[in-house]
Amino acid sequence: MVGYSRRRVLGGLGAGLAVAAWPGLAAAAGKALNRAALPNGGGSIPVIGMGTWRTFNVGGDPELREARTQVLAAFFEEGGGLIDSSPMYGSAQSVLGHGLEKLGYPDSLFAADKVWTRDGGATREQAAESSANWGLERFDLLQVHNLLAWEAHLETLQAMKEAGEVGAVGITTSHGRRLDQFERIMERHELDFIQLTYNIRDRWAEDRILPLAREKGIAVIANRPYQGGSLIRGVQRRGTPLPDWAGEIDCRTWADFLLKFIVSHPAVTCAIPATTSVEHVRENMAAGRGIMPDAAQRQRMIEALAEV
């Protein structure tokens, strides 16, 4: 059984003060995003999450830390849940911790992080360091980053999960690397989540990995939904209009179009676009609302983008 409850370091008084400082958090409580079920009856999470690679790595810069706190506030105002980070992302974890503390650790937070070290014996130590950076006592999800020393880390993470020290465990890859090995691990080990690159242009996961995830009841996080930004910048720079029929699936922007394609795949649990802009957060989150494309419409989306 996957357990997703989390105890936060911040007490009720701090949280109350934070809500007073960020009234939008309370005001936005009624907004609904589409949600995807988690494995083993672990509840559900909103289909749009947030990545932090590069975007939250601002170091000690107070101005940019405040700007990222605004991004987080908008994310939660729009009903966001899963945020993903890694020890590999420089200062991103501590910048997240700074922002989350200011926001009072919203209840909808689903904290996902990774273990990234070649030292297979350092799993707990690194997880503890990461949770201190976030200001959390426990993560909802810990993943082995890019399969680095995966055997030792996965074994420890499973033990941590059984002891209730983490909610769920998983593995990650990106850019389509090591897919054969990734698949073998999915087949032979008990995983709650996988994270991999999946977007309308990078669809190699569709052949084997995503069907296997469905079959085994593994939740899927899609990273690089905009191909590191180049996909959405490309269509926006050219001023390409959306297809006439995009309104049928509630697409008003290219962000809607690209993200709805991802999260409408039956195996995908959520996509994690990363951004430094409040406006873009709101655009991203809008993609998680309304009608999602069916299989035939997804095929039309692929064909429409191929013509761009």
Binding site: R54, T117, N146
Partner: protein, 222 residues
């Protein structure tokens, strides 16, 4: 963490956004103010001592600038953003030791000729051209990169000094060139072309200088 490099593609080695990288130099100036002026003077002092044959003091002044840049830029500002920055900081410290030892060995003594002229080009690029190009092409004046503190102009001036001296101690050029390549990759990804071309231009200048030896005639060191 060095062993984890093979799990990433080249484009993944830039862990910050253009905004963060550009602001790093504003923060550097704010952090060291007003000491960047002193270290610019130290850099100029190193050049003057090289010209006057004071190799040891030239090496010492240059070493102080590399140490200063290692601490203020790499360890204090860059390291929280990139796990590799502390390695870069230690590389800067090694560079400080190298330029100091070369100075003790009499390696920082002026020599003329074509190589020296190319050296002057690199020195001017580091002290004037690159720092001024930033604000003139849209970067903030507050992010003005001062030689002796900011790593890229410090590396350019060091490479220039290397060409001004004879015999040339190529070993003191390795770390500056590696830094320039790293910096240029970041600026290329960040979309600031003047920053991106620094490494190719500097390496090209060094290449021309290496080929210039058969037909350049400079003064022998005194």
């Amino acid at each position: 963490m060095l062993g984890a490099l093979d799990t990433y593609a080249l484009r993944d080695f830039v862990p910050v956004t253009p905004e963060v990288w550009a602001r790093l130099f504003e923060r550097l100036n704010g952090q060291v103010w007003p000491w960047q002026g002193l270290f610019l003077l130290l850099m100029l002092f190193a050049l003057w001592r090289l010209h006057r044959g004071g190799s040891a003091t030239a090496g010492l002044a240059l070493a102080a600038c590399w140490c200063w840049s290692a601490v203020q830029f790499q360890f204090l500002l860059h390291a929280p953003l990139n796990w590799a920055a502390s390695l870069m900081g230690w590389a800067f410290m090694v560079q400080a030791v190298l330029v100091f030892l070369v100075g003790l060995g009499g390696g920082w003594r002026f020599s003329g000729g074509l190589r020296a002229k190319l050296g002057v080009v690199l020195v001017l690029a580091g002290i004037v051209v690159l720092p001024v190009t930033g604000p003139l092409t849209g970067r903030s004046w507050a992010a003005f990169e001062v030689a002796g503190t900011a790593p890229t102009p410090t590396a350019l001036v060091t490479l220039g000094m290397l060409l001004l001296a004879r015999p040339i101690s190529w070993v003191t050029g390795v770390i500056p060139v590696l830094w320039l390549v790293y910096s240029s990759v970041i600026w290329w990804v960040s979309g600031w072309l003047p920053g991106a071309v620094v490494a190719p231009l500097a390496i090209g200048t060094l290449g021309v200088a290496m080929g210039a030896s058969p037909w350049s005639r400079g003064r022998e060191p005194s």
